[in-house]
Symmetry: D2
Subunit: 455 residues, 4 copies
Amino acid sequence: MTQADQGGRNARPLPQDLAIDTLGRCLLPSPVTRHLGERGVKFVGEADKVLLDDSISSLTQTVPDTASLPAFELAGPRDKIFFDPRTLRCGIVTCGGLAPGLNNVIRGIVLELWAGYGVRHIVGFRYGYEGLIARLGHQPMMLTPESVASINHEGGTVLGTSRGSQDAGEMVDNLEANGIGILFVLGGDGSMHGALTLSAEIARRGLRIGIIGVPKTIDNDVPFIDRSFGFVSAYSAAVDVIHSARIEAVAARNGIGLVKLMGRHSGFLACQAALASTEADLVLIPEIPVLLEGNNGVFACIERVLARKGHVVIVVAEGAAQDLIVDPDAAPGRVGSRDKSGNAKLKDIGVFLRDRILAYFEKVGRETTVKYIDPSYAIRSIPACPSDSVYCWNMARNAVHAGLAGNTAMLIGRWHGHFVHVPIALATSRTRSVDPDGDLWMSVIEATGQPREFA
Amino acid sequence: MTQADQGGRNARPLPQDLAIDTLGRCLLPSPVTRHLGERGVKFVGEADKVLLDDSISSLTQTVPDTASLPAFELAGPRDKIFFDPRTLRCGIVTCGGLAPGLNNVIRGIVLELWAGYGVRHIVGFRYGYEGLIARLGHQPMMLTPESVASINHEGGTVLGTSRGSQDAGEMVDNLEANGIGILFVLGGDGSMHGALTLSAEIARRGLRIGIIGVPKTIDNDVPFIDRSFGFVSAYSAAVDVIHSARIEAVAARNGIGLVKLMGRHSGFLACQAALASTEADLVLIPEIPVLLEGNNGVFACIERVLARKGHVVIVVAEGAAQDLIVDPDAAPGRVGSRDKSGNAKLKDIGVFLRDRILAYFEKVGRETTVKYIDPSYAIRSIPACPSDSVYCWNMARNAVHAGLAGNTAMLIGRWHGHFVHVPIALATSRTRSVDPDGDLWMSVIEATGQPREFA
Amino acid sequence: MTQADQGGRNARPLPQDLAIDTLGRCLLPSPVTRHLGERGVKFVGEADKVLLDDSISSLTQTVPDTASLPAFELAGPRDKIFFDPRTLRCGIVTCGGLAPGLNNVIRGIVLELWAGYGVRHIVGFRYGYEGLIARLGHQPMMLTPESVASINHEGGTVLGTSRGSQDAGEMVDNLEANGIGILFVLGGDGSMHGALTLSAEIARRGLRIGIIGVPKTIDNDVPFIDRSFGFVSAYSAAVDVIHSARIEAVAARNGIGLVKLMGRHSGFLACQAALASTEADLVLIPEIPVLLEGNNGVFACIERVLARKGHVVIVVAEGAAQDLIVDPDAAPGRVGSRDKSGNAKLKDIGVFLRDRILAYFEKVGRETTVKYIDPSYAIRSIPACPSDSVYCWNMARNAVHAGLAGNTAMLIGRWHGHFVHVPIALATSRTRSVDPDGDLWMSVIEATGQPREFA
Amino acid sequence: MTQADQGGRNARPLPQDLAIDTLGRCLLPSPVTRHLGERGVKFVGEADKVLLDDSISSLTQTVPDTASLPAFELAGPRDKIFFDPRTLRCGIVTCGGLAPGLNNVIRGIVLELWAGYGVRHIVGFRYGYEGLIARLGHQPMMLTPESVASINHEGGTVLGTSRGSQDAGEMVDNLEANGIGILFVLGGDGSMHGALTLSAEIARRGLRIGIIGVPKTIDNDVPFIDRSFGFVSAYSAAVDVIHSARIEAVAARNGIGLVKLMGRHSGFLACQAALASTEADLVLIPEIPVLLEGNNGVFACIERVLARKGHVVIVVAEGAAQDLIVDPDAAPGRVGSRDKSGNAKLKDIGVFLRDRILAYFEKVGRETTVKYIDPSYAIRSIPACPSDSVYCWNMARNAVHAGLAGNTAMLIGRWHGHFVHVPIALATSRTRSVDPDGDLWMSVIEATGQPREFA
């Protein structure tokens, strides 16, 4: 892999009304010092980067030039900032499906902009990118410390959200008309692609508008972010549902509890929820091909667990086993169709699996019951758990620092426990998935006792 | 209505090896005194009955004979008991779907039998009435204070459960073979019918086996029981789900949250959950006919709430609007089909309503989203809430008192805050439903602002 | 006991600008009909009363005149009301310590006044009776359906509260100046005494101001109210604390967990929490004299439980064993001192008991640890649980109905499952406590295995 | 700092009945392969180390020898193991105060030993190091997958715990007598010192017994472990308590809510709970000297917040401001006294602060109320939250891998998101505390608005 520190900073609009140094660095002193006390803030410097690989075995014996090692720019406050907070106008938009913590991030951005930098004009665009399309008539909300003070106690997003992209030209028109200097985009993969288009249009017009992403993915599948906000809340809530499934399974002869969890292309949520619950016997994820029949197939696994324990608990990620679902009418979505965010509509693996399991056991003449639970809306709508609350606050603070420092087309990531700057182009160029040979999957198969592969 | 105190006591097997008085009352002194201290227990006497109607306006101006007023026998310990606890063997069986508190009732029965009366042989039959069929080979569990000490911390039932009835003859054979003196049946309407059949067969054989029912209905629709155990737990859990639906609805333009709750023939759970949540805009229950179209129909109501608030939260009982679902393929169940407990399989009103609402708004050209949540398994599998914990404990104690005193075909009910004896025949002869003119429904329409009727 | 229906209605200010009948009943038709639909509301009539004693054995064989039986007036909407909702101004005040559900009751009163009757001027007085003293300068809050819509999701009271009484003259001056027609007082025993003084002063001045009480007592010790709002929430929260105490006790050799719960003069909360938790071994309440030493004393009980189980969990009501605490410095309060509400300051039984138990076991040479938890503030500040949420809503609705119908010096009680009108003078004339011979205490000693008395 | 990889491995007892290579590495092949499937496990190799500092700015421009960089050995399974699982006997002991997750770690160790390696003899020593003293007569518990299957659902520790150290000689006698090969010690700083003494005695006797530590500190103050197990659970529970304090504070005029949290020498828990709650106005920790009086003192801060918001919420770590408490009778502990674990008994800052605040405001003639909550036992006794559940499982797995591979006097740490081996000697040689110039404290002062220092 090449150097991670690319893209974002180059795309940054250069300040013309400020004295700048030869590197194009802006010279406005950060007001954070003033706000936070005389002793001074520990600012992040030019050389503060986090190695992409921090294991010794990854380093060659002699490293000629450490600066050339792949690394991320550390997030945090800079001593010089690009925008003048007294005149800066900022916008926030939340896109795509709900995730716990959206309100915490909104709140954190507003508080840091207001108290940390003295920004006094912050608007929230309503209902995702739709709110940036003037002709749709959604009035933006003015956001102040008072108006956001307690929004974190509720799930969802006070701004509203929607799926799908909008015309970049119209959106930039709106940003210009509103005099927005920084737009914070809270959204998933699709929204980050939208953010790239937006920043390309901004660059084409030569505008000084920064686009800062805060990646929102309940699937936890954004690369270079070892934990997306809301993820801990989500798998924590899923634990209760898995427990319910187990209680139902235990109460029936040959009872089978089946829980479908979010995870379109990755099984992080299913794995983590299964580990946290300690009660799953079988975890099916997109990364591990699923075989139903055969000696090492899902049916055989179920039979073995039933024989040993009398009941089975299965956790399945929504994106698992999509290749098996041949009947397009088995589920609400249709093959090849896509939702407004451009995501391929998945066929419902939960319903499919329930029906196939019932059919199998009817065939072999063994009575079973399957209790199927699909808790998605009830999970993604909860407030952030305390751990996510802290995490969102720090995400938000670093997003503001990144924006004020003049970055654009950049999102806040986390690498080896550090918050870092990740160019959106890099983050959207690949996906993150559960490594079938890695420790997470190993941990799951040890916890469940399931086979490593169904092949 | 005729006198409530009928049936049960007459069906009671008379003790032949004990001195009995002219009324057939048994003369063994209750050991509860010995166990509970020298000061003596306040026993319930012959005349302790609770009026069916305790309002003054119900009494005629002069009551010639108060003993003739309709009334229930008060539950509680009797000074004389029918069975000798030193030799008595008791059985417990749990039938039908899960409800919070089953384990609490099991635990309570065991503790009261053991510590209150000194009974030392208590078995739990496995998987509902199936466990009473010897040839199916389910070994009963021995139950002791130690083995049940902490089972109340989990939902479900440690005994397992199943739907459906079994052959009364085979079951009584088993009771005889095991020397069971009292069988405690925890179950719903179907199971109580089963209990009647069982006690009829017992009477036919002239056996001294008491059948005591503890009514279990998450729908809260058993008559003469103002609150079934697990009901408070269930609607409490439903509140969180309604809240999730609201969060989802608020976050979308014209967002519609739809929650389906249990309630085959009655809307108690839907009403109570809606009241407790304070967040429902529309509650649909079996007792109130549903009209979709028209000026006062569901669609019009939704439009009005959307216009006023921008989102709608709908709570629907599973038994509501069954007459509207004409397409038998709209839902997993089919018209006329029944499950193993003999309940008619309901057509899925949640899916039906979601699809019809989407179709309507597509027709009128207004974009909406419907987020539909069906939380049933996640609700009925939870542990009893503290309020139900106390309630189950008292249900269990009174069931034991009733059984030891020699009652049979009797269940424990609650009337105006008192635990009472209700003949199973009486309780199963009618159903309880939400009164469209009563205070509960009035309370709901005030809380939601919905019309009283859709007509 | 004499007839319950006294005091309140007689003290009612007579309407002079309305046609009234010979009984002084007002003739303004209730607008509830108009608001709630054409079908009409089932109004409560003159003769709708609830018998004080609904057991048959309490009725004499021939009752010459049922109207003379002790009974409470049923709460609920009346077909004629006293005040004209279009001009009526209402006030709400919350007094004394926090209890879960205060915000629910405030919200319910506002919604019922506004939507049920059309009242448009509702104010909340701040910080208890202090808010009625003009010279203290607390500005009342205007309350509307919007401002109270979500307050029930938080504990505490949006109005604020304070302890202590204020000068009745000054308070009535304020009510007059603000043109208040009905004042709803949410408070405990002390506040209800204050409400009586207030209504006496109102009567003295010949004013038409109704005072309606909603009894708030986390101790659940108000007579004629079988359940005070917030009580279920409180004991539910206490269950978690008792569980914590047990976990701590189990983890230590001879571990003793000690939890102090609210209950100045009554042990309802301690009993109910102990029953709900199923984990207490010893419950100490004010109604049962406590002996520490001796063969049947607390120390001996602890020793016996330790010998059997290895750990002990003790729940003590704050008002228990006050006679034992001889050293006035053993606790923050002093003998004879009173707080601002006029309650005698209790000596801290928790600290006292912890120290005495440690001293005892040190004396007998047995190592123990005592983990003492005092959770009061953490319990009384929680939001209402779903069960209390419904209950508060109905309390509030009935308080509004009572007020509009022209009652005064009346509080909303509950008797045998019915909401009823209870004259404040009657409710404050006695206290309610756990009956040492009743079923609640019996239930506790069966659940804990503790002796019935320490004597 | 010198190289981190020291001590532990050198102290390892050498195997004499196995072929070993020149480096003393054992040659028994790991059975993990066999248990976990044919595809093979990704074992951790010799060179897999994690850099102590992973920032680029920390690397010199040219690194001559990367192997000499300070680094930790990566935890995880090794391809060769030291002990023969078929004959190995393992012990587990839990020491000191409770922390959420103890049962999860016990369970994880047993499952990994049993299923991962095939160890069949695992005992749990009771009540901390006391359980290793034979003459005290605590019988060890046999631990199996069945016996530990569900223990994680409860807080506390099934083994029991105690404070204080015991004679190393007696303890090693016991280990020898029981034939223990690996002892897993779950405990805090004091217990880790005990573990060192134990391993020194083992080395002195030339025995082959490994001592593996799993650091347990609710204060989160063990160095080289960025997150101790139970920490997330603890601060999550503290959030609710802070919320209660806020509700109480808001409901009173000039209300002050005061919460004392664990943290003898470090403020991590107080900081993290305050951040997560978003409701604290003032956080006092041991690392930041506290001044009460003066223009920038605590009293002045309280006054400013009261003026702005009308109420204040204060979170104080138990170890804060110890220098201020001059009166030894102000708190249960005495100056200089120590508990059985050797920890200096702290004076009660909560009570001290409450009294001083009340005295101050009485002096300046402003009425306030202080509601003080000390939730410690209620926090440390809860079950592990889902996030800690996963974390404990991985801690346990890595502890087992470390033990089987022949490490001793080593604990499992976490560094930059990787589990690593940390010599106990290194971990106990220093303490970890909140950096007054670091991002955590900066984050707190931004969140609260409090001054950075009280000086």
